[in-house]
Symmetry: C2
Subunit: 200 residues, 2 copies
């Protein structure tokens, strides 16, 4: 089997850590099929890891779910940041968020917002909701900061409207299988930004 079997600390040479393989498997399975319908056995089978290792690394299934969502948050954050950093003008930075959305929608296995999907499966006091609130707080503050930089007189209001488009595009991409929703949201966003920042 050639199990390298090194834990977390020492940088494993070739194969990823058991912890990393676990997270990668969870990332695929939880996202593609849902956090509830995917059992622990499926995750450890794909990761090629023993069950005890999962429980020693993440405590329980909720811990793994939290790590999965945190990873999703980080991936999205990096993608959006990269797109935003490609531009200088605040207006273009705002619009670039929707370019990042379009990249995500274009991925072959896109299945909607991971946080929206996960929170649909759990009760209000689940750790999922905490991760979701964190994610949505980040999105909102990103839009608010960029709106302020763009000179909007009411950055919170403009941000709320852009979040509306951000969410709506995600729903359309998933439910209507329409990856082009990002472009449409971007077009509408441009008119909202221009209307909010117009000198009058």
């Amino acid at each position: 089997m050639a199990t390298k079997a090194i834990a977390d600390r020492p940088a494993a040479p070739g194969r990823p850590t058991a912890r990393e393989r676990l997270l990668a498997a969870a990332n695929e399975l939880f996202y593609e099929e849902g956090i509830h319908v995917v059992g622990i056995d499926r995750v450890i089978e794909r990761a090629g890891v023993a069950k005890a290792t999962l429980y020693s690394a993440y405590g329980n299934k909720d811990g793994l779910i939290s790590a999965y969502l945190a990873g999703r948050h980080e991936i999205r954050r990096r993608r959006v940041t990269a797109a935003v950093d490609r531009h200088e003008a605040p207006r273009e930075k705002l619009l670039a968020v929707f370019d990042a959305l379009g990249e995500a929608f274009a991925e072959p296995n896109y299945r909607g917002c991971a946080f929206l999907n996960a929170s649909a499966e759990v009760g209000p006091d689940s750790p999922v909701m905490q991760a979701t609130d964190t994610y949505r707080g980040w999105v909102r503050s990103l839009f608010t900061d960029l709106s302020r930089a763009a000179g909007a007189p009411d950055p919170e209001q403009l941000a709320s409207r852009l979040v509306l488009l951000y969410d709506g595009a995600g729903v359309a991409a998933r439910m209507d299988r329409n990856p082009g929703a990002a472009d449409m949201a971007k077009t509408v966003a441009a008119t909202l930004i221009d209307a909010a920042t117009a000198q009058h």
Copy 2:
């Protein structure tokens, strides 16, 4: 126990039919907690109905879920139609859809779009997806027809944009616990409608 125990056909005097009680219980439990986490036993317990009755009335759990979603669709359809019919002008009819949305968001146990939540829990070939496609097709054609009546030169495009706001408002109401998202969506919708129908 005073079980009236009348089936479907004869109009029961006081108590609703077993079939109706089943649907009402499913409507509450599936919506509030999710279709997967709620078991058959919970539904029949709340409905005060024997398990065999459920299976004789709906075939299996999927049948009950389909009936639950069809009921949700009908409730939404009625609410939106009532709001739209309160107005004469196509522009006001379009905006009235968001009034109906605001009514739904204001309900105490609002937990997001039932179709969005349900489809997050199932695979792509589930009967849930069929009910979801039907629902979304109705929403889209409603917006398209009203946009055409309002004189929009590209009714499909305006409808797609309004669907974006419709979905975004639903997400915000649920995830940000912000029932006022309907008003914001309505405001943005008004500017989009006016921009699309402006003579130039």
